[in-house]
Amino acid sequence: MTVRIPVSMVVNGAAVAAEVEPRRSLVEFLREDLGLVGTHVGCEHGVCGTCTVLLNGETIRACLLFAVQANGAEIQTVEGLCTNGKFHPLQEAFRDKQGLQCGFCTPGMLLLALEVLRENPHPTAAEVREGIAGNLCRCTGYQFIIEAVLAAAERMPAGQPA
C-alpha cells in the first residue's frame, strides 16, 4: 500500500502543496511533480552535485533529501535565477565565457557558484576552484566555469544576493 504524505513548501517564491510518497526525493518531486526540469539528476547518491539546489538558502543535494523533509522549506532552483525573463549575472557570465558545453552540470553549478559568491563576493581563481570542487563537469575541464564565476563576481553589484 502506498501512503502519501502532504507537503507544502515555497519553490522559487511560489507556494506549492502536494501529496508524495515518503521515498520520493526532492529532485524527483521538483522535476516530475512540479515540472521544474531545470534541476538535473545525475548519480542519485550524492557524488556528482548535478542536483544541487538551495534549501533555505544553503546548497544541498536534492537526490539525498526526501521531498517530505522539505515540508515548510524554501527551495530555489535554477528556474528561480532569472528575474522578469532576464538572466542572472552568473548565467550571463556562463554564456559569455562558455562555462558550459553539454549543459548537464550547469544548473547545479550555477547554484553552487551563487553560494560561493555569496560567501566570498570577490574570490580568487583558486577559491572558486575549491568552491565548485564538489560538482562534476565532464566537458569543460572547469577552466571556463572558473572564468565565468570570476567574471560574474565583477559584474554582480555589491550585496546583490540574487
Partner: protein
C-alpha cells in the same frame, strides 16, 4: 523511485525519537543528515521499514564549552561544527577532520552524530574523536549511558548504539594550550573517501613531549588508536628520528584490508608516512602556539 518503500515519521524531540524507535521496532533507522544513509538506501544496500527523521530535534543541535569539555549535540550539522569558534579554539582537530569530509554542500546536511553512528571505517570524525579520548552519550529506553570512544566502535558500520537507541551527544575533553594538532589523509580524489587518515595531538613542555595521541582511519574495521606511537613519543624530544620511529610503531602492528583503493601493504605504508607527517605538523603547531 530508488529506495525501497518505508514509512516516514518525524520526531520533534529526543523523547519522541525514543518513543518512536521503541514503538516501530528493530527495522527502523534514524534519519539525520542522510548523506550516508540515503545513498545506501538509493542503492538498496539498506531497506529500513521505517525512518525516524530527527532533523527537527533542535535540542540536539548545539556546541557548548563547559568544565574543560566541548559538548556537541548529535544533530549539530558538520558545517556548524566547522564554523564554531569554540571548536576552533578548543578542539581544532575536529575542524580539520571535518574539512576532509566531502564538500560544503554535503556538510550543510551531514551531522556530527550521524558520522559517528554511521561508523564508516574510513570516517574522519570517528578517528578524531578517538584521538581526543571523547565520550559518546547514547540514550535508550533504559536511560542514558556514556560510552568511551574506545568502546563505541564495534566493527565496520557497527557501534554501541542499539536499534532502540539514539546517539545524543559527543563529549570531548579539551587539550591545554601548547597542544599541536593535525589531521591528514590520503584520498584518490580531492575530498574523496579517505584511503587512510591520521590524526595527531602533541603537547610539549619545553623540548619534551608530555602527551601525545595518534589515531588512524581506513586501516581496519574500526578507527585505531596507535598507543605504541604515543608511548614512543612521551618523555622524548620530538626529533625527526623520534617521529619516524613513532610512525613505524603506529604502522607495524596494522593489518589493513585490501580493496580497490589500495592493498593492505600500501595502506600500511601510507599509515607510516601520514602519521609521521601529522606528528610533524602537530609538533610545529605546538611550538608556534607556545611562542
Amino acid at each position: 523511485m530508488k529506495p525501497a518503500r518505508f514509512s516516514y515519521h518525524v520526531a520533534g524531540s529526543l523523547k519522541e525519537t525514543l518513543d518512536l524507535l521503541t514503538e516501530l521496532g528493530p527495522e527502523t533507522r534514524v534519519l539525520a543528515g542522510g548523506q550516508s544513509l540515503v545513498p545506501m538506501m538509493n542503492f538498496r544496500l539498506v531497506q529500513p521499514a521505517h525512518l525516524v527523521d530527527i532533523n527537527p530535534v533542535v535540542e540536539l543541535d548545539y556546541v557548548r564549552l563547559d568544565d574543560g569539555h566541548l559538548t556537541i549535540g548529535a544533530r549539530t550539522r558538520q558545517a556548524a561544527l566547522e564554523r564554531s569558534p569554540d571548536v576552533a579554539a578548543r578542539a581544532p582537530l575536529l575542524v580539520e577532520a571535518v574539512r576532509h569530509m566531502s564538500f560544503p554542500t554535503v556538510r550543510h546536511r551531514g551531522t556530527a552524530g550521524g558520522s559517528l553512528a554511521h561508523a564508516d571505517p574510513a570516517g574522519e570524525l570517528p578517528a578524531a574523536v578517538l584521538a581526543l579520548d571523547g565520550d559518546l552519550v547514547v540514550a535508550g529506553p533504559e536511560g542514558t549511558r556514556t560510552v568511551p570512544a574506545m568502546e563505541f566502535f564495534r566493527g565496520p558500520f557497527e557501534t554501541a548504539v542499539g536499534s532502540q537507541d539514539v546517539l545524543t551527544e559527543i563529549r570531548v575533553p579539551c587539550w591545554p594550550s601548547g597542544t599541536g594538532h593535525a589531521f591528514l589523509e590520503f584520498a584518490r580524489a580531492h575530498h574523496g573517501f579517505a584511503v587512510i587518515g591520521a590524526a595527531a595531538l602533541v603537547q610539549l613542555d619545553g623540548e619534551e613531549v608530555v602527551r601525545a595521541a595518534v589515531s588512524l582511519c581506513g586501516v581496519a574495521g574500526v578507527p585505531v588508536r596507535a598507543i605504541a606511537a604515543e608511548e614512543r613519543l612521551v618523555g622524548a624530544a620530538p626529533t625527526p628520528d623520534a617521529l619516524e620511529e613513532a610512525a613505524q610503531a603506529a604502522s607495524s602492528g596494522l593489518d589493513p584490508p585490501s580493496d580497490v583503493q589500495g592493498s593492505g601493504a600500501y595502506r600500511r605504508k601510507l599509515a607510516r608516512v601520514f602519521v609521521r607527517r601529522a606528528l610533524s605538523v602537530a609538533v610545529k603547531r605546538a611550538k608556534e602556539d607556545r611562542s
